[in-house]
């Protein structure tokens, strides 16, 4: 990273930290919470979907498990942080169990396999935990959005920093090599299965952690909500719109997505889903590298001109 980049990051960070001190509007704060939530979940999806190139259509399962376990432990009197970590770890265990059979499948079959597993979980959870899960009244009396905002900010930063460190490490080189050309990577000593499992575990951990933050944030919901396929597909769309496989891509994608959705939903209600569908198709067809791809092209052209 160069000096300009570091300065931008420091300013952004200060602004994010100071944000709730200046903004008191609940709707704006809620919007900020959702932006951070989607930054985390999209970045966590990106570790497997982007770095490893394994399109996981069951990411909601990890978000949901994280939320479910966190909610249970927290309501049972556990510390919220401990509850979230346990929730995330349960998500990891689930990923490792799913990973063994799922990574026998490649490409489209992996995508369908993970989608099927998460749908099974959605139905099972819906049948097992059929009553609404609400924050107890005594906790509700002291409920405030500000700590929720900081919780999401913490999870988002942790996810981004981890993803950045991973991508620039030996692990990052290995897992992206597996994505680019699995046979060649293996012939050079990279164990594809081991690296995919690692990526899957890390992706599930941060998906689960985001779910835990959601459990801390949301006042009342049916547990089934957190297992819905929209969590997966929204994450994937954000990663692709911003730039799949990059660090900044899912972040930009999430900000763009949430703000645009807010804007569209206010004007067109449910019709905004169709707009997003079309947008996603356009991005995949014409901008396979997302917004980051456009930025790269501009940067290269500027560099060439300055030579």
């Amino acid at each position: 990273m160069n000096k300009i980049q570091i300065t931008i990051i420091v300013i952004l960070l200060a602004a994010l930290l100071a944000f709730p001190q200046f903004i008191t509007s609940e709707s704006v704060l809620n919007l900020a919470v959702y932006v951070l939530l989607y930054v985390s979940i999209a970045s966590s999806w990106n570790v497997l979907g982007g770095f490893a190139g394994q399109t996981n259509l069951g990411h909601a399962a990890f978000f949901g498990v994280g939320a479910l376990v966190t909610r249970m432990l927290w309501f049972a009197g556990w510390n919220i942080f401990a509850s979230m970590v346990i929730g995330a770890l349960v998500a990891v265990v689930l990923a490792l169990i799913i990973g063994v059979p799922a990574f026998r499948l490649r490409g489209v079959y992996f995508a369908i396999g993970t989608l099927a597993l998460s749908q099974i979980l959605l139905i099972t959870v819906g049948n097992t935990f059929s009553t609404i899960s609400s924050i107890p009244t005594e906790d509700l009396k002291v409920y405030s959005l500000v700590p929720r905002y900081y919780m999401f900010l913490g999870v988002a930063l942790l996810t981004i920093v981890t993803a950045y460190v991973l991508l620039n490490s030996r692990f990052g080189l290995g897992i992206t090599a597996v994505r680019e050309e699995e046979d060649a990577a293996e012939s050079l000593g990279v164990s594809a299965l081991k690296y995919k499992m690692l990526a899957f575990g890390i992706s599930a951990f941060f998906g689960g952690l985001t779910g835990g933050a959601f459990a801390f944030y949301h006042v009342g919901y049916y547990p089934q909500l957190t297992f819905g396929p929209e969590w997966t597909f929204d994450s994937m769309m954000m990663a692709y719109i911003g730039g799949v496989g990059t660090i900044v891509g899912p972040v930009i994608g999430a900000v763009f997505f949430v703000v645009l959705r807010e804007f569209l939903a206010l004007r067109f209600a449910e019709f905004h889903l169709i707009i997003f569908g079309v947008l996603f198709i356009l991005v995949v067809l014409f901008l396979p590298d997302g917004f980051m791809g456009i930025w790269e092209k501009i940067r290269k052209r500027l560099l060439r001109r300055s030579k």
């Binding site: 080189l173 090599a177 680019e180 050079l188 000593g189 164990s191």
Partner: protein
């Protein structure tokens, strides 16, 4: 003790015996050529050696260590690197990143990415590709991709290098360049097993030639002996009818 010892190696696909009871040795510092008509089992043999296929029977010993049936990602760290008949570069990586994978995960696996990058540059230099270090592999020509594949395998610091038709698809002058590269690699004490169709290349390069036909070894010996061996002429040109 030979560097590589192959004993009674067999592999069938359904009813087809692709490799049938093949045995031979490769001594340290040698260039051994593996030839045979299309479908004679050369690439299958190479895939057996590198763990891409599991043999039905037989023994592969490398440096006295039994490596039969090793997972394919465990082969390179023991000191065997390969290239692919149809080159398989990491297309979205730069040339340098391609080579770094070999350096970082190969025989002397390392965590130190900075040092690995520098040493990988040296590997690119060796195949004459250092000025393309920051180009994406997908923007390289076939000849450059072949060089890249070679640099990547070399960066893994192998003791044995398996080359699968490295010259296929190249013109005569490019093939000559690759020939010189291979001789240069041998001079750095890397043993080479080479599969090649171009007979001239095999005869100039190899110290010894093994001939396969329909999965069976039919001849083994010095290049000049082999090209005059009547059985070898038969399988390549068909039996002469007087």
């Amino acid at each position: 003790m030979p560097l590589l010892k192959i004993e009674g190696l067999c592999k069938s696909f359904g009813g087809l015996k692709a490799v049938n009871d093949v045995s031979f040795d490769v001594a340290e510092g040698e260039i051994v050529g593996l030839i045979g008509p299309n479908g004679s089992g050369k690439t299958t043999l190479l895939n057996l050696l590198t763990g891409f296929l599991k043999p039905d029977a037989g023994l592969i010993t490398f440096q006295g260590q039994n490596i039969t049936g090793y997972a394919r990602s465990n082969i390179c760290p023991t000191g065997i690197a390969r290239t692919f008949q149809l080159v398989k570069p990491f297309l979205g990586f730069t040339a340098l990143q391609n080579v770094m994978v070999g350096r970082v995960f190969g025989r002397e696996s390392t965590q130190d990415l900075k040092r690995a990058a520098e040493e990988s540059k040296a590997s690119l230099e060796r195949v004459g590709l250092v000025d393309k270090a920051n180009m994406l592999a997908k923007d390289l020509t076939l000849m450059q991709r072949k060089r890249l594949e070679l640099a990547r395998a070399l960066a893994a610091k192998p003791q044995l290098l398996l080359l699968d038709e490295l010259m296929a698809g190249l013109n005569v002058s490019e093939a000559d360049e690759v020939c010189n590269l291979i001789l240069n690699i041998r001079d750095s004490k890397i043993t080479i097993l080479i599969i090649e169709h171009i007979v001239k290349a095999i005869t100039t390069l190899s110290d010894r030639v093994v001939v396969l036909n329909m999965g069976t070894k039919i001849a083994e010996g010095a290049p000049m002996e082999i090209i005059h061996n009547p059985q070898v002429i038969d399988v390549y040109l068909g039996r002469a009818r007087a």
